[in-house]
């Protein structure tokens, strides 16, 4: 519904909007369609198209069958879902707590803030990181994928900025009413910050879902590999070393396999987004405050 105060846009402005958004959407939809189509394409389709396929004339799910035949992919999805869900929960909790605590002028607030900001600039080396993870006994444990990602400086800064924008008057009056800091966070700040919590949660979830390098280093047991490692090895893999000795029937075209993995890696996270989207709708804050 158009709010009463909003005037009807001029046709010219309307057209420009439509062209910009429509063009951008098309520029995305077509390539994504190519990805999906290629994953469903038959060998002839791919060979005749010379690589990627716009529309499969002989659709087949052979690539997906191959992908799931080894059991590797199914397990990997479970691992990724676990790491993403648990990781996002932990990271959100840590970030919210720290961002709130540093968003007010409290004891040690500034030094802690500087501690976080410093992490934006430098990166610990691969080797020292490995040694820590090993010292903590996390090698070959899924926690090695979760704990090192429990706080992101960028997400922290974004969250903290939003928290600081929560009107001071509300907090002060709550405090006068005798609310503790815990209560204020839970009852006032968090409900007012749904949008940013949704955004940061999404950022974390995507980060956990897409991470692969830690898994390569910290996990020796292939049963614990997440989807992204499989994606890498499929998308990047060359030919099997033993292919010439095996002389077996040809597997599906590498392109369809690769695109099938891409689709598999894309779908779960794509499904989460619509649930978060409603938090970006206008008026969340006023609604909460008014209520």
């Amino acid at each position: 519904m158009r709010p009463i105060w909003k005037e009807r846009p001029s046709p010219a402005y309307q057209t420009i909007k439509a062209v910009v958004l429509g063009g951008f959407a098309l520029a995305i939809i077509i390539p994504i369609m190519v990805v999906v189509s290629t994953s469903l394409a038959s060998d002839q389709d791919i060979i005749s198209a010379g690589g990627y396929v716009l529309w499969p004339s002989h659709p087949t799910v052979k690539a997906y069958e191959t992908l799931f035949s080894g059991g590797l992919m199914g397990r990997a999805i479970m691992v990724s879902v676990f790491v993403t869900v648990v990781g996002t929960a932990i990271a959100l909790a840590t970030t919210i707590a720290l961002a709130y605590a540093t968003s007010r002028p409290v004891l040690f607030g500034r030094p802690v803030l500087l501690l976080v900001l410093f992490t934006l600039l430098f990166a610990p080396g691969i080797i020292p990181m490995f040694l820590i993870v090993k010292q903590l006994g996390l090698i070959d444990s899924l926690w090695s994928l979760i704990l090192p990602g429990a706080l992101g400086a960028f997400n922290f800064v974004v969250m903290r900025t939003f928290f600081m924008n929560v009107p001071q008057e509300i907090l002060e009056s709550a405090r006068i009413d005798g609310a503790s800091d815990f209560t204020i966070l839970r009852r006032i700040v968090m409900p007012l910050s749904k949008a940013v919590i949704a955004v940061v949660g999404l950022f974390y979830a995507v980060g956990f879902w897409n991470a692969f390098f830690n898994a390569l280093l910290y996990l020796n047991d292939t049963a614990k590999w997440p989807v992204q490692v499989i994606l890498r090895t499929y998308v990047l893999q060359g030919k099997s070393l033993s292919a010439d000795q095996l002389g077996v029937a040809p597997p599906p075209q590498p392109q369809s396999l690769q695109m099938a993995v891409v689709v598999v890696a894309l779908v779960p996270i794509a499904m989460v987004y619509p649930f978060l989207q409603r938090h970006f709708n206008k008026g969340v804050i006023t609604g909460a405050v008014k209520g």
């Binding site: 059991g71 292939t222 070393l241």
Partner: protein, 547 residues
């Protein structure tokens, strides 16, 4: 292109000639002398393990000392046991890399479990992937919790191999040098040329991992080349003309892997395999020769004629060669014909035999590295060393043995069955369990290579014949098996920088004058030092390069 790292790095391992190996940047190590070639001065003194060929198998097509690989038209009917007792009493851990899809883990991989049973204890593999292997190797090394075995790749940027081996790994000379190796017959069946890879600082550090001794070759789809009278040429001008003719519409003559193509052109122009040995036993590097420079100019001419496929980022030319969009590409070894068969069962690609650029000069054919490195042991006591050697002995069992079958095909009736001609063929279960595991095992331990393509016995004959033709022009890198500190330290970086300039020149981004400038930088950056070090240890047996 990342997808290129995987394939190309592996191509490099497969034994590309030095100096002009592959486009992928991470491959540079294979360049000049190779990080893992072996041994300083002392290395020439060490007694290599006594060679004792495996008896009891007669290939249909005989191999030869020259590097010619024996060809088998079918798998020997009654596989012989090469190992008397299971080698292991205790579990063994190993770091290796797979170039296939990672295998199902041990717990749910019957083939792996069967192998463990045959070995007598669990073989626990930590399977690295590409990319990420050098990082994994370095972190494990720094963490001081080394696995028992660690595959040491020759070309993935692992520097200062000598001191590293001395610090962390077991000197195996005592157990392997001379006749001592005869206790492990499958290791004694590895050729001296392969063993040289595993010698560093005059000590033997592990069993080498042989691969095809052939280097890069150019391959073309015969259906495409039929239009211009076939792939084989007599002169560079003829090749040029054919390329121009084949480039029509969306079809192109050559894959855009410039460095690899340049390597092929270099052979036609008589450029040496990495180094040229002069009459006075001094060395001249490939980049310093007029032959190579001429090849660069020739490549630039071809580029200007637009016969290269115009997407430099092309990851894998194979599908395009199969469908005719690209006429020729570079692969490793004549046996790579099998890759094209896998994509199109009706296709047997042609292999270019090098020719003199003007029809008169003698071309060369650069042999490859011949191994994919070696696998050193963590420092340990004698009992354990013997146990690990027995394990490596088992895993290096030659083609045609029971152990080979177990390692590569699993158990009859489960992972493989015999086809009409009694060749083992993987079953569906085998196809899931085998490739990732076999790849990981093969990269850390392997017997001498053979030609075997059971589905197409005719191919085996043809490949064998091609190898003989290539061997007429074969040239080996004179510094192979010697060691230069500088090369190990800065070789990869120098090669990379020089190649960047060459690619700029060929693609017209820089003029030919940039060549000498880059060469100067290469020399002062360490090239001259490298030369000195290689000259000092140049084995007397290496002949003066014919030119």
């Amino acid at each position: 292109m990342e997808s290129r790292y995987g394939r190309r790095r592996f191509l490099g391992l497969g034994g590309a000639a030095l100096g002009a190996v592959v486009l992928g940047p991470t491959l540079a190590g294979c360049g000049d002398g190779g990080a893992a070639s072996g041994g300083a001065k002392a290395s020439s003194d060490v007694a290599l393990p006594t060679y004792k060929a495996f008896e009891g198998l007669r290939p249909e097509l005989a191999g030869a000392e020259s590097g010619l690989e024996p060809g088998f038209l079918q798998f020997p009917e009654n596989a012989i046991a090469s190992v008397q007792a299971p080698p292991l009493k205790n579990a063994v851990t190993a770091l290796t890399e797979t170039f296939a899809t990672p295998p199902p883990p041990m717990g749910s991989n019957p083939m792996w479990q069967a192998l463990n049973q045959a070995l007598g204890a669990d073989l626990k593999l930590t399977i690295g992937t590409d990319p990420g292997y050098p990082e994994k190797f370095a972190t494990l090394l720094a963490s001081d919790s080394l696995p028992d075995l660690m595959w040491l790749p020759p070309n993935q940027g692992i520097p200062n191999i000598g001191p590293m081996l001395e610090a962390k790994f077991q000197d195996l000379t005592k157990y392997l040098a001379g006749d001592a190796v005869l206790e492990y017959p499958n290791l004694a069946a590895l050729k001296p040329a392969s063993w040289r890879t595993a010698v560093v600082n005059g000590k033997i550090w592990g069993a080498p991992i042989p691969s095809t001794p052939f280097g890069q070759v150019m391959m073309g789809n015969p259906k495409t080349w039929a239009k211009v009278g076939g792939l084989q040429c007599k002169t560079a001008d003829e090749f040029f003309a054919k390329c121009k003719e084949l480039t029509r519409g969306t079809n192109y003559a050559l894959e855009p892997a410039i460095v690899n193509m340049l390597h092929m052109f270099g052979e036609w122009f008589g450029a040496p395999n990495s180094w040229r040995v002069n009459q006075d036993r001094s060395l001249t590097h490939l980049y310093e020769t007029d032959n190579y420079k001429a090849a660069v100019e020739y490549a630039a001419k071809l580029w200007a004629a637009k016969v290269f496929y115009p997407d430099l980022n092309l990851a894998d030319a194979t599908p395009k060669t199969v469908n005719g969009q690209i006429a020729a590409q570079v692969t490793v070894g004549p046996r790579a014909t099998a890759d094209f068969r896998a994509a199109d069962p009706t296709l047997f690609v042609d292999t270019m035999i090098p020719f003199g650029h003007d029809g008169k000069a003698k071309p060369v054919y650069d042999m490859g590295y011949g191994t994919v490195g070696f696998t050193p042991f963590k420092k340990t006591d004698e009992g354990r060393i013997r146990e690990l050697l027995a394990l490596v002995n088992y895993l290096s069992a030659p083609f045609g043995t029971k152990e080979y079958l177990q390692k590569n095909f699993g158990t009859a009736g489960q992972q493989y069955s015999l086809d009409a001609k009694k060749n083992p063929v993987l079953t569906q279960a085998g196809n899931q369990q085998a490739p990732g595991l076999v790849s990981a095992l093969q990269i850390m331990t392997a017997p001498e290579s053979v030609i075997f393509n059971p589905a197409y016995p005719e191919d085996t004959r043809k490949v064998h014949a091609t190898e003989q033709k290539l061997l007429q022009y074969a040239m080996r890198n004179p510094t192979a098996g010697t060691y230069s500190d500088t090369s190990s330290k800065v070789g990869p970086k120098l090669t990379e920088a020089f190649r960047d300039t060459i690619i700029d020149i060929v693609t017209g981004r820089q003029k030919m004058d940039a060549y000498d400038e880059a060469l100067k930088r290469w020399k002062s950056g360490g090239g001259d030092k490298m030369r000195g070090e290689f000259e000092a240890v140049l084995p007397a047996g290496v002949p003066v390069t014919a030119s």
